[in-house]
């Protein structure tokens, strides 16, 4: 038994206690009615509600039936000899039940109200019922309720007249509300197709029964001693009421309704669906909001969702969150897998999958493209990151190898030079060699810096950009609103954006200066290089800018080159840097 079922069982037991406890309270308060018959409709709603919740998870009708049980038996608990109980029982207990019943009927079979008119009608019914409940709760007068022995605390504004008026108004309004409700039912009848009309047969039967019960209400009385005929009518009314939830339940579970759900699905699928909406459609049709559609990869193991993200299938029998996997196949090849609540009717799932077959095949192709795109993106990012790591390694090797040896060589030459000071020819030759070596060291250093600047590794982006600005031939101002370190590849990409942009400004822009702005907001690093030159920078032309654009977009960033009308150019990159 699943965890959900245990919960439902526990809920059923608690509500059984609620109904029977209410009757027990009535018996002890010597309420002269047939308590067995009074309990019958509640038991019927409870049974239907629990079975509906179990068999159609995600459908609200089950919950509405449970709510009906809770509210309807508040009246019996109102006989309890404790403060406020009679007031609550007489107000909420007697006013809200009908509203919930109307809600069940109009939202049948999905548990959702479909049109604005239906929502308005149900809203008005709840509104009026809640308002009369509130008025009675505030003005509850025990004498008006006919109870002289009850113990309670007086309501804030006890008034017999107010309570009687509220009850009277509620009765008069009831008539109008019933008419509104019937109008909504009639509109629904007109709206649906003949096939759906047949599928909705339980609704028409139940509405008929409720109307009959309401009519009989005028002649009914639960007290046999005073009015024997009215008591018989009351008994008949109760028995008829017992049938209402069972009719709905039968409808909910019947194959006809299942076919109608599949019919709804086919109508929905007739229109083009935005990506990812197929899952929502299937979930609605099957009444399982937790339903997941996983698509089979093309020639690969593994499953993806509509966005192309990996979506592994659940392991069979994996603990409490047990899910059932229904395979959708075409020509023996797996197309998709529906991962759903085990309580769903397997035949219904298969019917829905068959109805959505073409859409599933389409969406699978789209998911495959998205998955491939995602893989390309990820591999692009890995290539950029590997390139960055390789640059660091090369710079490090230059530093540890050639630069060290050249520095040692420079020391040797200097010492040698000191020793041969007496021989001008050799001294001149050594001076020449030392000068060449110095030049070579400087060039090698510049090369290493171009490959990967050590300061970027050592001190981070703002310091590295400052150093770059210091070495620039033009005056460059740097603003940075952060000082902390970012992931290595992000720092490197941002650094090279600035370096390339500044190199371009120096070479082509004829600018008198440039400004570099580095800012970090909402997990995005923003790099902006603005100059006051002649403009005309174009990422599509220079291979340097183009290469940068590629590197920035490889880490899901954006890169733009703008030439504002006032002159100058602006290179802007936004790079996600994960907080």
């Amino acid at each position: 038994m699943t965890r959900r079922r245990w919960w439902l069982l526990a809920l059923g037991i608690v509500l059984l206690g609620w109904i029977l406890g209410g009757e027990w309270v009535s018996i002890h308060a010597h309420v002269p009615e047939n308590h067995f018959i009074d309990a019958l409709p509640g038991l019927s709603f409870l049974l239907a509600g629990i079975v509906a919740l179990d068999q159609r998870p995600g459908n609200r009708i089950g919950w509405l039936m449970i709510a009906y049980v809770v509210v309807s038996y508040l009246g019996n608990w109102g006989n309890l000899q404790v403060p406020v109980a009679p007031a609550i029982g007489s107000s909420i207990g007697q006013q809200l039940g009908g509203a919930i019943l109307a809600h069940i009927a109009l939202s049948y079979p999905t548990g959702r109200l479909r049109t604005r008119f239906e929502r308005a009608v149900i809203g008005i019914i709840y509104g009026v019922s809640s308002l009369t409940s509130l008025v009675i709760l505030l003005a509850f007068d025990p004498r008006a309720a006919g109870c002289t022995r009850c113990a309670w605390e007086p309501a804030p504004f006890p008034s017999r007249t107010t309570v009687m008026t509220a009850n009277l108004v509620a009765q008069r309004l009831d008539f109008i509300l019933v008419l509104l409700f019937l109008a909504a039912v009639w509109l629904r009848w007109r709206r649906v197709t003949p096939a759906e009309r047949r599928a909705l047969a339980p609704l028409w039967v139940a509405v008929g029964v409720v109307c009959l019960v309401d009519l009989l209400g005028a002649f009914a009385s639960p007290f046999p001693v005073r009015q024997p005929f009215a008591y018989l009518v009351w008994e008949l009314q109760s028995v008829l009421y017992v049938s209402v939830p069972l009719i709905f339940l039968w409808g909910l579970l019947s194959a006809r309704l299942a076919r109608s759900a599949v019919g709804d699905l086919m109508i929905e699928l007739d229109k083009p669906l935005p990506p990812g909406q197929l899952r929502a459609c299937l979930a609605r049709a099957l009444g399982d909001p937790s339903l997941v559609v996983a698509y089979a990869r093309d020639g690969l193991d593994g499953w993806v969702d509509a966005d192309g993200q990996p979506r592994p299938l659940p392991e069979p029998g994996s603990g409490q969150q047990a899910r059932t996997v229904t395979m959708v196949e075409r020509d023996g090849q797996p197309l998709a897998a529906l991962i759903h609540d085990p309580a769903l009717d397997q035949r219904l799932v298969c019917a829905a999958a068959a109805a959505a077959g073409m859409m599933i095949a389409n969406e699978r192709l789209q998911a495959e493209v998205r998955a491939q795109l995602e893989e390309v993106r990820a591999s692009r990012q890995r290539i950029v990151e590997a390139g960055d790591a390789e640059r660091r390694r090369v710079e490090r090797n230059i530093h540890d190898g050639a630069q060290q040896r050249m520095a040692t060589l420079a020391l040797s030459l200097a010492m040698l030079r000191d020793r041969v000071a007496g021989d001008p020819a050799i001294a001149a030759c050594l001076d020449q060699a030392a000068a060449e070596l110095k030049q070579a060291i400087a060039e090698l250093r510049e090369l290493a810096r171009g490959i990967h600047p050590a300061i970027l590794t050592e001190e981070g982006l703002p310091a590295a950009v400052e150093a770059l600005a210091d070495r620039s031939a033009l005056p460059v101002r740097v603003h940075a609103d952060f000082n902390e370190r970012l992931p290595g590849p992000i720092e490197a990409i941002a650094y090279f954006v600035v370096a390339e942009a500044l190199a371009n400004v120096t070479k082509y822009a004829g600018a008198s200066g440039a400004v570099v702005d580095l800012s970090r907001r909402n997990g995005t690093l923003r790099v902006e290089v603005t100059d006051d030159g002649i403009g005309g920078a174009d990422a599509a032309r220079g291979s340097g800018l183009r290469g940068l654009e590629d590197r920035v977009s490889a880490v899901r960033g954006s890169f733009r080159v703008e030439n504002p009308p006032g002159g100058g150019a602006r290179v802007r990159a936004e790079i996600p840097c994960d907080g």
């Binding site: 530093h399 630069q403 050249m406 020391l411 050592e458 001190e459």
Partner: protein, 117 residues
């Protein structure tokens, strides 16, 4: 004077150059940890310290050895340029920086500011 550098060829040349210039080289170390140990044992006046060492950085060695009265004066060296370290050299507490290729009695005296051999 103590020389801390992982490159044996450079250490040998630096030692010869310093000795020729009249400094007394009391020890050498090839990595940061042994550099810290030797500096504490021998208490040299000056430590010539490479920034890039195989275990810890020269900056960490400065933190553990230098700065404060009675402690050795530290001169950082590197085959990179000072500008490759931003303001880190200023902040480190070392007396100064000399590029490895520029190491000589003159540049050392300039950094040490008269505290010559």
């Amino acid at each position: 004077m103590l020389i801390v550098d992982d490159h044996p060829g450079f250490r040998a040349q630096a030692r010869a150059l310093l000795v020729a210039a009249g400094y007394e080289v009391v020890g050498e170390a090839a990595d940061g940890e042994s550099g810290v140990r030797v500096a504490r044992d021998l208490v040299p006046d000056v430590v010539l310290l490479d920034i890039h060492l195989p275990d810890i950085t020269g900056f960490e060695v400065v933190e553990r050895v230098g700065g404060g009265p009675g402690r050795p004066v530290i001169v950082l060296i590197s085959s990179r340029d000072a500008s490759d370290y931003g303001r880190r050299i200023e902040r480190s507490g070392a007396r100064g920086f000399i590029g490895k290729a520029d190491l000589s009695a003159r540049t050392l005296a300039a950094v040490l500011g008269g505290a010559g051999p």
